[in-house]
Amino acid sequence: MALFITKRLLMALATVLVVAVLAFLLVHAMPGSPGAVSLGAGASQEAIDAVNQRMGWNDPLFAQFCTWLGSAIQGDLGISLIDGRSVSADLASRLPVTASLAAGATILSAVLGIGLGVTAAVRGGALDQAIGGFVGLLVALPAFWVGVLFVYLFAVQSSIFPATGYVPFEVSPQDWALSLALPVITLAVGGAAFIARQTRASMLEALQQEHIRTLRATATPTWKILYVHALRYASLPIVAGIALQFIGLFGGSVIAEQLFAMPGLGQAVQTSVSTHDAPAVQGVVVIATVVVVAVNLVLELATKFLDPKLRAS
């Protein structure tokens, strides 16, 4: 087990490093040098060159990457070309927004998805078909469209939730929750549908296992067969599915943040890509990767822990 964790940790580190290199190369392929981007359209060539020189733009790529990596390890991701602010500080203030969004949406979609999936598998018949149809529809609906619909229903028609904006938790927990509600629900719709399908399929597979018959033959109550034994058997692929959802939702928050004007990482990617702000793009890619890889690692370890075959060895 310790060996397994070590291996996974090394894998995670390698992943982050590979992404850092890729991001670095991508950023370098962006149109416009740092000088041109930061000084804007009217700047003279000399001024641009001076900025580029100061930022090491003309150094060999490898040297630039090492410099960047060196400061990144110390928590310094450089400064934004557009507003001159520290990228690290900016992202640090944005991370909680996206993290709350993604975590909230993952939890909500897990709860809804497992509920729907288990119900469909266990109840069968017409209810199963109805849930199947509903889930199929949810999968097909674009989240941004659903988001706009929610804004129309809950913010325009009735003002239950604020349409846009984010209130930090420190300012007002209640408003924080309210401001998160619509984006989280928007994101959770597709995620819940995905997890519902995964859950239904895993539950049905679990119920096809022969040990279920042994349990019935020893008069195990139905609820216990379903919710202790079958769900336990089905839990491995379900948790793996939730991990995948988190990855998807973390990236998916780009749209929710745009739609609901949330100052999160997604918004940062979107603006920095539009403005060719190289250090910001690179910083956000790396930070997003670190978060996703870390959470994925934890969830994967959880999945493995659920499997006695692996735990025992």
């Binding site: 950023v27 962006m30 069968g124 469209w145 008069a219 990855i247 990236g251 745009q258 890619v285 075959k309």
Partner: protein
């Protein structure tokens, strides 16, 4: 939201069994061969195909019929709803929404297809390479794809857009690369299972090259999964593309895109909410269509029945039970009168089991008119070849028939109670406490997620109402009783950590935990090595002697019958064809089928007297739907005559209390005929019948 980079699971993933048991009407093209009929059997998928075809046609021919150009602005109708001039309304610049939707369609579909081609193509090639090479190469490819799957794909795609601009084809191709990891994972499993098929080994023995094997034996088997994945990825690609356009990374202005149009509409959700509807609906319908096609193709053709039926199926079953309970008891002359039987005695009377039919009529019969008696402390063998209904008969004793199969008539009398007419709820008082089950594969009969100790103590506590400590002591003593030496150690293990023989001992201990009076053993030694089989049989014999319980032993092995059974019932095609004392039946069989089985068994001969040829039975056990009205064995019987075309009752066999279902039994006994070891002419050997079209015992057990 941008959907996850991982491919959505289809309703039911294509399984190995699906690969091994393909459709019957196999035809020309790979897709038709595998699943065309599944596609056309699903109304959703047909509708989806129609919609996609219509959309593509309309989009490609758009310039010919569209009433407006995409940039035509109608200032008389800005932000209008549907009108005669603008069927789907207009946007904030008065542009016709219908025209813009269809003008954008071709590009959206085409670039999404690019994702499909890159993603599915790369994923498939990698999976086939990994499955073919195995070992280190597979390890490396799998590690790389794991890394790819744990990346925040959307953020990376945005970084790519930063570098290459909103060049949609390039972006969608890179998206395909990112998604290929998930596709690889799905396809790898199947490619590996195809690579492990014996026909691949056979081709290797032929000397076929790895490339030839991949192309001829693996790729065709993957065709269906590939199409399923393609449909699902197509849908995801469309959603992601629209999502990108929504946040401003769509095709360059003024080119219309669905995501961009929804973005535009979202700006006017306050004053013109209608604008959201048409584009959203078209996008959703298109995604829905692709998903419907993928799900229809991906549906496993005959998934195994669950061992715990769904609530809906249980309701169905309860109705069947009520019908049995209400039915007048019909007892034939070979059955005992209804009602009182001695305690600990099982009497099955005229039991019939059939497949539930959706309509009012009767479904296919799997077991007909079976009567059995098991006295306390005796072992009854149910013997026959696969498909003869012996497992169904055994499972009906516990009310554990698989979903879709139920008792259709007769009685199962146990301690004066008719179990065939007992509800599932009431059966819980019988199962484990009075009648217990052990099955063929002990490893699969135990829950892999819990320790032996947990499974055993939980069962003991439930069935005997004991406390935790007491139950643990009882568990230890049960394990010792079934011959496990280091019981305390075994309690701590998981099922996968013990051998098959050990697992069967644990399964027997589990079955004994409620002190049952009757043990139903379904081929309990078939999966075990022969030396272990001997040990388990000895154990069962000792348990019968010590506890006085009775056993119904399902087996196909006449040697096992000779070893442990007091009584035996030989089953053929859902009927008992001969029953009586084991010694009487095995030493002087009366039914030609029993005679033939013994003659075909190499175990019946000594090495010095081993015949040059074994006796055989021509043809095969008929499918339940093909059972004739007369003797079901007649078509394969060496002695069959015209009298065998009439239904044959079970008749006293002359010797002792045995019964035999053969009109010629007496004649054969008098003439002392042997089942001869000659092959019948080839023309009689082949009765090509579509296999496994209906629920047969094998599928369900």
């Amino acid at each position: 939201m941008i959907p996850s980079m991982a491919p959505a699971p289809a309703d039911q993933a294509e399984t190995t069994t699906a690969a091994a048991a393909p459709a019957r009407n196999a035809g020309r093209a790979a897709i038709t061969k595998l699943s065309g009929h599944r596609l056309f059997a699903s109304p959703g998928a047909v509708a989806g195909l129609v919609w996609l075809a219509a959309l593509v046609t309309a989009s490609v021919t758009a310039p010919l019929w569209l009433p407006f150009k995409t940039e035509d602005q109608d200032f008389t109708a800005v932000l209008s709803g549907p009108t005669a001039a603008h069927w789907l309304g207009t946007d904030e610049l008065g542009r016709d929404i219908l025209s813009r939707i269809f003008a954008a369609a071709a590009g959206t579909l085409g670039t999404s297809m690019l994702t499909v081609i890159v993603g599915v193509g790369l994923g498939t090639i990698l999976a086939m390479l990994a499955a073919g090479a195995g070992g280190r190469a597979e390890g490396v490819i799998s590690r790389v794809t794991e890394v790819m799957m744990s990346l925040p794909g959307t953020v990376i795609i945005l970084a790519v857009i930063g570098a290459v601009g909103t060049n949609i084809p390039v972006v969608m191709a890179i998206l395909g690369i990112l998604m290929s990891a998930g596709i690889y994972r799905v396809i790898l499993g199947q490619a590996k299972s195809l690579q492990s098929q014996l026909y691949v080994d056979a081709a290797k023995v032929d000397g076929a090259s790895p490339l030839r094997i991949s192309l001829r034996h693996v790729l065709p088997g993957l065709a269906n999964t590939i199409v399923v994945q393609a449909a699902l990825i197509f849908a995801v690609g469309m959603l992601i593309q629209a999502g990108l356009a929504f946040i401003g990374f769509g095709p360059p202005i003024p080119q219309p895109s669905w995501g961009g149009m929804i973005q535009g509409a979202s700006q006017h959700v306050y004053d013109a909410p209608w604008m959201m509807v048409p584009t959203g609906a078209v996008l959703a319908l298109t995604v829905l269509s692709a998903n419907a096609i993928g799900n229809a193709l991906g549906k496993a053709p005959n998934a195994a029945a669950p061992h715990l039926p769904s609530t809906a199926a249980r309701r169905q079953r309860a109705k069947a039970v009520a019908a049995i309970a209400a039915a007048p008891v019909h007892v034939t002359k070979d059955g005992a009168p209804d009602g009182e039987t001695a305690v600990g005695t099982l009497s099955v009377r005229n039991l019939s089991v059939g497949v539930d039919s959706p309509g009012a009529g009767n479904g296919v019969r799997l077991v007909t008119d079976v009567s059995l008696d098991v006295e306390q402390g005796t072992v009854l063998g149910l013997v026959g070849e696969s498909g003869c209904g012996k497992t169904m008969t055994a499972l009906s004793l516990l009310g554990l028939l698989p979903s879709g199969v139920s008792v259709t008539g007769g009685q199962i009398l146990w301690n004066g109670r008719n179990l065939a007419a007992t509800t599932d709820k009431d059966m819980e008082a019988v199962r484990g406490r009075e009648i217990a089950l052990i099955s063929q594969e002990p490893m699969r009969a135990l829950d892999p997620m819990f320790t032996v100790g947990y499974q055993l103590t939980a069962t003991i506590r439930r069935l005997r109402g004991m406390g935790k400590g007491e139950a643990r002591k009882e568990a230890l003593s049960l394990l010792e009783k079934v011959g496990i030496v280091d019981a305390a150690q075994i309690l701590k293990t998981y099922p996968h950590q013990i051998s098959g023989g050990m697992a069967q001992r644990v399964a027997i201990a589990l079955a004994l935990s409620g002190n049952p009076k009757l043990l139903v053993a379904d081929e309990p030694t078939t999966a075990l090595d022969v030396t272990v089989q001997a040990e388990i049989l000895s154990l069962l014999r000792a348990l019968v002697k010590d506890t006085g319980m009775s056993v119904v032993m399902v087996t196909h092995d006449l040697g096992v019958v000779a070893d442990i059974c007091d009584q035996v019932a030989v089953m053929y095609a859902g009927q008992v064809v001969e029953n009586g004392r084991t010694a009487a039946i095995l030493d002087s069989p009366r039914h030609p089928y029993t005679l033939a089985l013994l003659a075909a068994d190499p175990h019946a001969n000594h090495a010095d007297s081993m015949p040059e040829r074994l006796a055989t039975i021509s043809g095969q056990v008929p499918q339940p739907k093909d059972w004739p009205a007369g003797c079901r064995f007649a078509a394969r019987c060496q002695f069959a005559g015209s009298a065998c075309l009439e239904p044959v009752p079970l008749l006293p066999s002359g010797a002792g209390e045995g019964l035999v279902r053969c009109v010629k039994a007496d004649q054969l006994a008098v003439e002392g005929m042997d089942w001869l070891a000659t092959d019948v002419p080839a023309s009689r050997l082949l009765e090509i019948t579509p296999k496994q079209t209906l629920l047969t015992e094998k599928d369900m057990a």
